[in-house]
Subunit: 328 residues, 2 copies
Amino acid sequence: MKTRIGIYGYGNLGRGVELALSKTPDMEAAAIFTRRNPEAVKPVSSDVPVLPAQDVASYADQIDVMILCGGSAFDLPEQTPQLASLFHVVDSFDNHSRIPEHFATVDAAAKKAGKTAAISIGWDPGMFSLNRLLAASILPDGQDYTFWGRGVSQGHSDAVRRLDGVLDARQYTIPCEDALAAVRAGETPELTARQKHTREVFVVAAPDADQARIEREIVTMPAYFDAYDTTVHFISQEEMKRDHAGLPHGGFVIRSGRTGENNEHSQIIEYRLNLDSNPEFTASVLVAYARAVHRLAAENRSGCFTVFDIPPALLSPLPVEELRAKML
Amino acid sequence: MKTRIGIYGYGNLGRGVELALSKTPDMEAAAIFTRRNPEAVKPVSSDVPVLPAQDVASYADQIDVMILCGGSAFDLPEQTPQLASLFHVVDSFDNHSRIPEHFATVDAAAKKAGKTAAISIGWDPGMFSLNRLLAASILPDGQDYTFWGRGVSQGHSDAVRRLDGVLDARQYTIPCEDALAAVRAGETPELTARQKHTREVFVVAAPDADQARIEREIVTMPAYFDAYDTTVHFISQEEMKRDHAGLPHGGFVIRSGRTGENNEHSQIIEYRLNLDSNPEFTASVLVAYARAVHRLAAENRSGCFTVFDIPPALLSPLPVEELRAKML
């Protein structure tokens, strides 16, 4: 029997989870839970039932692992501990500074209910974090660099959309090639925010809006743009739809270390993602970790886990003997 | 008290382990064991005792984890099971096709003695294997590519050195830029050995040797060179010493996957190593996994482990709470 996965929340991420499950031999989308009117939600596959989120408790014996697909600002801090008292759960909580707090509440709820939870699963936090940990453990004498992009930042796009006279906006974060090249060459430079990334913004302005004023408000916006070199392009609604509909992202985690009697050897570890679809990739990571959560739960290992705690073999559908024979 | 690491075998790899231990806050080189005359072995640090390998059993209570630094062809198949009946052990066994067999003998010996072992630790097998597993688990609909180099292959260098009239030789494996670019672009090409790598050989020939014959024997050598495009350079002993004394290596593990309702999204995961010193990097990985073995042993988890089985947090000297707060 396939592992029955519940999808809690059906936006870009929930849809990505449904799609990712269609590629696994051992798991299936058993149900989608939504706070919207279920009849208004159309899953990719018409086979998957769409159910009201408020009834979720009555499906406790029909879902093996629940993947939470809500947002980190308001949804997950409430939902993950709540659902961890009913289900084994996986979330993609990505507010880095609040991870210890979120871990503590989820861990307490899961332990109390004898459930298994994995939080902050995705690529950053997630695969990038795992690579930071591995690389720093292998090369203790070294320096870490994380670059993001080229990709769409939803937070920065939203910040521009809130400006007066802006109808739509899309912000791309772009790693600086010079900085990347210096790091890859083992130079371990100290880099400011401005030296690591540039920002590029595409704006659809209202017909009567003052474009010079909008551009000024963007490039000087505190926290979001003022510490970066930002380029602003005004485009039409048609161009926005045609050229900027996707959600690409990615980035680089690089550890530049030194070994040798006189530190004479440069050793560079680089992990890179180049993603056409950020939500579909995050969803694919969530699904692999749902498999691991199901297995940890089968061993009665309750409480909260992160990518740091989970033996990698648990992510694969293949038996570990086959992994050793074919992938090691 | 620091974790006391034994180094069994003191060639390039053993020396790398000693150097890597000098960078860890929580582990130390407690002793070097050698089959040579101990007085003829000079460790980097004069503090580390050099002891005869034949006496190793009498140091069972003075070593927390033994790192085996012998070769995979003749040393490790014998030594790892033997030493796993006396010590917790880590080795870098790298004969991919014989890993299941090696795992079985080490697992049996370690379980019988209540010891913890980790085998095939390094970068391939090792970190490359881990990345193949993670990437394939996340992107089940995709294709794997492993490229090696630019780096020195000891096996190929040795094969050339055995030819008549060859005084010294160094072989570099070089990944083909065109193939790498195609894979990174998401094209998932089918690649032959010749399309993935080229080989470059530097040869010091005897003064009276027939260079044309040596070159012909190299480029047509079955298994080693005949399936590749190989360039041969004849150089002087001085040039060999000046330009080819290092042991650089590295490579790329790339997973090119597809997601989306119509597979419309390319998702690329790339892990890259660029190493000035292959043995020192392998040694650094061995040392990080020795930390994990020590911790697994403290939990009485006996038997054989690989990179697939070990929770990543065990590799770090930092407590997991700090890892979550700072690296996740």
